[in-house]
Amino acid sequence: MNITLDRLMPEPLASIKHGESSIWGNHVVLEEGKRILLNASSGKGKTTFTTTTLGLRRDYSGSITYGDKNIQAFTADEWTEVRTRQIAVVFQDLQLFPKLSVAENLRLKNSLTDTFSELELKQLLERLEIENKWEQECGLLSMGQQQRVAIVRAMAQPFEWLIMDEPFSHLDVENAKRSMSIINERTLAQNAGFVLTTLGESHGYSFDQELFL
């Protein structure tokens, strides 16, 4: 599934002058299976890109299409299908449930599609060195630990696209590498593409395409 942004201009960014290479106001196609780096400094609209592309905000001009369907026309049923089986996401603010344990946060997501067994979920946590946090409330974890839980949660569904909004901002180099390794395996296994927004760091990974804001 290609994602097409056609002359997309979020209202909060409309008054700002954007460069010729910027995705804002241009025609951009995110081709299926591609690994895309979205590189921009703070305040350029990385989170706006994520939330707009995912249909979470609608204050924009232009259009966004998944395949050949404008997302403005999506019904609740269609959005649910997209969010459960087509597009996975790691939000910049993580959007975990702080009062629930790591296990409960992961089960809540995984139970929608039964993508992983409980053992597999634990193994993923183990690879990110937080397997001992299984029963701990998410709100009590450090930001870096929470970021890793959010990455594992995003993996716990089938997807064609994985959209990540600064997912490694609180991770050290080693943990970012481990996370990237898991992401790489999962996307390859599903022939899925991903968009990684960063402040300029490519995390030692080679991308098929680089976008600018």
Binding site: T80, T84, V89, Q95, K99, E104, R107, L108, S111, L112
Partner: protein, 391 residues
Amino acid sequence: MLDKLLFKNQDRLQLLIAVFGSFLGVTFLVTSIHYLIKVQEFGKGAEILGPNTIIVQKKVSNTGTLGLKPTDFSELEISKIKNMTFIKEVQPVRSNNFKVWFGTKDPLVPPFSTDAYVQTIDPQFLDVKPDVWTWKPGDKFVPVIMPRDLFVMLNTFMSASGMTQISDDLVKQINCEFKLSYNNKTEHLNCRVVGFTNQVSSILVPESFMEYGTVNFSDGTPQKITQILISGKENEFGLVEDMLEERGLESRNSQMVVGRLKSIVGTLVLVIMSISIIAVLVSGLVLIQYMQLLMSRNAYEVRTLMRIGYHPKKIIRKFFIYFVRIFGIITAVGFGAFVLLKFVLDGVFASGGVNIDTQLTLTSIFTLLFAYALFALASFITAKKGILNEY
């Protein structure tokens, strides 16, 4: 897990207050509706006249005795009473203008005979099966409703004759007869008691019998309407009483007392029921408002659940089922409390000599179900609106 996420962190005190308010409202609602129906039903079946129905005549004064003031009702007077807002129906009570004797004609009881005064009233006011209350010349017997005073007199006579007194059921089995005569013409007609009344002092007969007697045994004197039958509206019997006083009319005291009591108790219960309905609505609203508060407190959780792939319908269902279950428990416990309260109240009524029917009323149960359905609908609409607001 969803339950833990959405319902664990609540203001339990606020929920308890809302639940307690709803419980009180539901209990009083079902109790008041039950007793309102029981009060309306009170006395039904025990008497042959329907509820809120009385027979009245003009008070006899000295001038009336001297013939200076008429004691009968004119068409105009009847029509004026009929047009009053609290009156449902007015009908003349027809009396015999021919000679008639009533007596026993059965080997089981000694012969007893007396001049009789018979009356007929519109069958719509009588609590007697229509197929029993018919007569035509040639039928085996004339059905009659006997004044209880006459029955007591008959039993006194039996006792004085050294015979065993007879019960209500037995008197319905014995053969009686009417003797009608005019000049040299006499006719004997079998009759049988089909019911008793405390409300009428005369023997009641079907209209066709009265017609038969008037045509064949009357001396031609026109029938005067000295009594009329008045049917008042529910809970407005006090107004009927005032009207009787105002117009110089009177009725048998027992009829008035029952009517007055039913009117007062009915009005009181109606007031309680109105308060209960308001209480149920207010407590229902408090619960709904609590639901809104809970959704608003969980706005982040609801929004995030939908962002990670939960269908809004699933979350709506969660809130809906949670609150419908709470109200279901309230309704069930409220109904249980009503049954207990009813047990106590029925005992209080019985000890006061008021033997009302103790069976549960279907209407009160349906009212509960209706209140439950109304709350379920309000819960669904609120949950849908609240969740989609976060979508």
